[in-house]
């Protein structure tokens, strides 16, 4: 598509090539995995880092944004400072991955009887068929890079009919200026139920780059709640991908909250593989300063009778750039699909920006699809109403912004996760308020 011949490589691309060349023999996995790595890196090199002319990355030009690339983490445990837990008080089991390495001794796997946790390295050595199974249709340079360099991560297996009692957090923590490539594999059997919180944090001031790809396969009639918290360190780059297939009559509820990192891109690809499944996909972005955050939510209705809802809210302060790309594909035979997408941006400052890119590719005729996008500032009339009751400006703005985000956060339909995420939104707003007062 966009594979124009490329002559010049950026410094970041050169570094990645050198890193791959040096690391290829040490990277874990069977010979089949080794050749998959070679193929993936070749695919990456052919197109290079995504740039403006790659439609799917239009607003996140990594060629320009990634000036350099830090050294690879590989299997070294760097052991820098582990940042504070942003979800403190929220009850869940924890799978802790530090600097790309699964750390059982720091994890808490209680209350998740029935589920099995395996380090991804074991799947790589066993040449497990689940590696890459969800990525076939995804043509994305960042995913290719992850396949070439993936080391750590975990596999979570929930067998048929099992309801996992506690939510499971997959906590990704980066403590030093390194490049981390994590691969997680999640399999949820038919009639099973699972709640996942995928979190991403890292040390302040550390220019690390985290590239995390999670492949999830969700069986028929299963119920999965998947919340992602991107609260990476302020100097970092976050590249996150979730590729998920959902079976017949499945309910998949997904929320991405983006608030950290200097540059971030979160992409979710949902493929409907069974009929009468429902997916609720929500995004909430809260950024300021010079942050750049891009959420991509893509839905592929490959079968008839699916329902998808995408609702995205972004709040930008300072000189931040918020981006949303929503993609809905309805395949030729996917009749009776009902897909809706709504995007709203709220600009808290003059210099912030919001770009929304809805894409609908509808090949079936008997479908209902709708999308809408708005962008604006805090409503002056509403603000004055609150001020006229004596509520100070910062507090009034906080009330209005909280209300704005609530629709996306509550959309997930999980009260405990919603409360934890709302608390994080509250902290962000409080920090903003105290800056304004200072």
């Amino acid at each position: 598509m966009n594979a124009q011949p490329r002559i010049l490589r950026t410094q970041a691309e050169d570094t990645l090539a050198a890193e791959f060349a040096a690391a290829r023999t040490q990277l874990p996995g069977s010979t089949a995995i080794a050749s998959a790595r070679e193929a993936a890196f070749a695919a990456f090199q052919k197109v290079g880092l995504p740039h403006r002319r790659v439609e799917a990355w239009k607003y996140t030009d990594l060629r320009a944004l990634l000036r350099s690339v830090p050294p690879l983490a590989l299997d070294i445990a760097v052991d820098g400072v582990v940042p504070a837990d942003p979800l403190i008080g929220f009850d869940r089991a924890r799978i802790v991955i530090i600097d790309g390495v699964f750390r059982p001794e720091l994890s808490d796997l209680s209350g998740i009887e029935g589920a099995t946790i395996t380090p991804t390295v074991e799947l790589l050595r066993a040449d497990d068929a689940r590696i890459g199974a969800r990525l076939g249709a995804i043509d994305d340079a960042v995913v290719s890079l992850n396949t070439a360099l993936m080391v750590g991560g975990v596999a979570i297996d929930v067998p048929e009919g099992v309801t996992v009692a506690r939510a499971i957090e997959i906590a990704h923590v980066t403590t030093a200026a390194i490049g981390v490539h994590v691969r997680n594999i999640v399999t949820v059997g038919a009639d099973a139920s699972l709640r996942v919180v995928e979190s991403h944090v890292g040390s302040v001031g550390s220019a690390y780059q985290a590239n995390v790809v999670t492949e999830a396969t969700i069986g028929d009639r299963a119920k999965v709640v998947w919340a992602k918290l991107q609260a990476e360190g302020d100097a970092s780059v976050h590249l996150g991908t979730l590729a998920v297939s959902i079976g017949k009559e499945t309910q998949f509820d997904h929320l991405v909250l983006m608030t950290g990192a200097t540059v971030s891109r979160s992409q979710t690809f949902v493929t409907f593989t069974g009929e009468f499944a429902r997916a609720g996909l929500f995004g909430a972005t809260m950024i300021g300063g010079r942050q750049h955050a891009d959420i991509m939510l893509g839905v592929d209705h490959a079968v008839p009778n699916g329902q998808s809802r995408e609702r995205f809210k972004a709040v930008m302060d300072g000189r931040a750039d918020g981006i949303f790309q929503g993609r809905i594909v309805v395949r030729p035979d996917a009749q009776k699909v009902d897909a809706r997408m709504m995007t709203q941006g709220l600009l808290l400052s003059e210099e912030s920006s919001f770009s929304a890119k809805p894409e609908l590719e509808i090949f079936a005729d008997d479908v209902q699809c709708a999308h809408g996008a708005t962008s604006g500032q805090i409503d002056d009339d509403m603000l004055f109403y609150l001020l006229s009751r004596g509520i100070p400006k910062a507090e009034a703005e906080t009330l209005l912004v909280t209300a704005f985000l609530a629709e996306a956060i509550e959309g997930l339909g999980d009260e405990a996760i919603g409360a934890a995420f709302e608390a994080i939104a509250g902290q962000w707003l409080a920090a903003r308020g105290s800056e304004a007062a200072a």
């Binding site: 109403y385 001020l387 004596g390 509520i391 209005l400 909280t402």
Partner: protein, 249 residues
């Protein structure tokens, strides 16, 4: 309580208030009547500190203090309350959260302790019962899906809780049915006190049957063009504004 002298206000290059003179002594209730577009709501916004107006001339003294440079939230804490002609719907902000934030913010600004939750709940319950504001309405987001009359009752509920020194009621009677008009008027009358002043903006004499004013003013083209006793309202009801529009022009 309130002294307005030669107040001129404009929006962009549009002059709306053209020399308002108005004095409302402590404990009195004054009514303002006047044709559509004469500047009544504008005056209420300017008094409560809404942004976007250029005050080109004149002064507003509240308790003897100039308030033109005071932000809206400080005026509210000082005791100025506006019951909106069109109360705003604020989706996602729970009515109770809003009421508590408003009450406590004003208390804090005055150096008073915040209310405890039970104390707050009790106050809301008492005030809500008097105004026929149901618990179900209080559970909804602020004014969202409220009927016109419900919104107006919610305004008076806020006034009852916030206990302002000066209440400005902008067409609080519009949209009310006969029973609701009585409920709201009773609510307002219950708040009449020797320490509290009110400025009641209305188009209709019938409100003033319930809330009997000490003084009635006529506003036309951005000025107070006549003031008199309650009988002035009856005269206006009978004759309309014909004479005043020309007088002001």
């Amino acid at each position: 309580m309130l002294e307005i002298r030669n107040l001129h206000a404009s929006v962009g290059d549009r002059q709306i208030l053209r020399g308002v003179d108005l004095v409302v002594p402590t404990g009195e209730v004054h009514a303002i009547m006047g044709p559509n577009g004469s500047g009544k709501s504008t005056l209420s916004y300017v008094l409560s500190g809404r942004d976007g107006y250029d005050i080109t001339e004149g002064e507003i003294l509240f308790d003897g203090k100039e308030i033109i440079d005071m932000p809206a939230e400080e005026r509210a804490a000082a005791g100025i309350f506006l019951a909106f002609q069109y109360p705003l719907e604020i989706p996602g902000v729970a009515t109770m959260t809003f009421l508590k934030a408003a009450l406590n913010a004003q208390r804090k600004a005055r150096g008073e302790a915040e209310l405890t939750t039970p104390d707050f709940m009790r106050r809301v319950k008492v005030a809500a019962e008097k105004l026929n504001v149901t618990q179900e309405m209080l559970r909804r987001p602020l004014n969202v899906g409220f009927s016109g009359g419900e919104k107006k009752r919610n305004e008076i509920l806020q006034m009852a809780l916030l206990e302002p020194k000066l209440a400005i009621l902008d067409e609080t009677d519009s949209g009310l049915d006969i029973d609701a008009l009585r409920v709201v008027s009773d609510g307002v009358n219950a708040l009449r006190s020797p320490n509290r002043s009110m400025l009641v903006i209305t188009h209709y004499q019938r409100l003033l049957d319930h809330i009997v004013p000490d003084v009635v003013h006529v506003m036309s083209a951005g000025r107070i063009v006549r003031s008199g006793g309650p009988e002035l309202a009856l005269e206006l009801e009978a004759n309309g504004y014909a004479g005043y529009v020309e007088a002001a022009a």
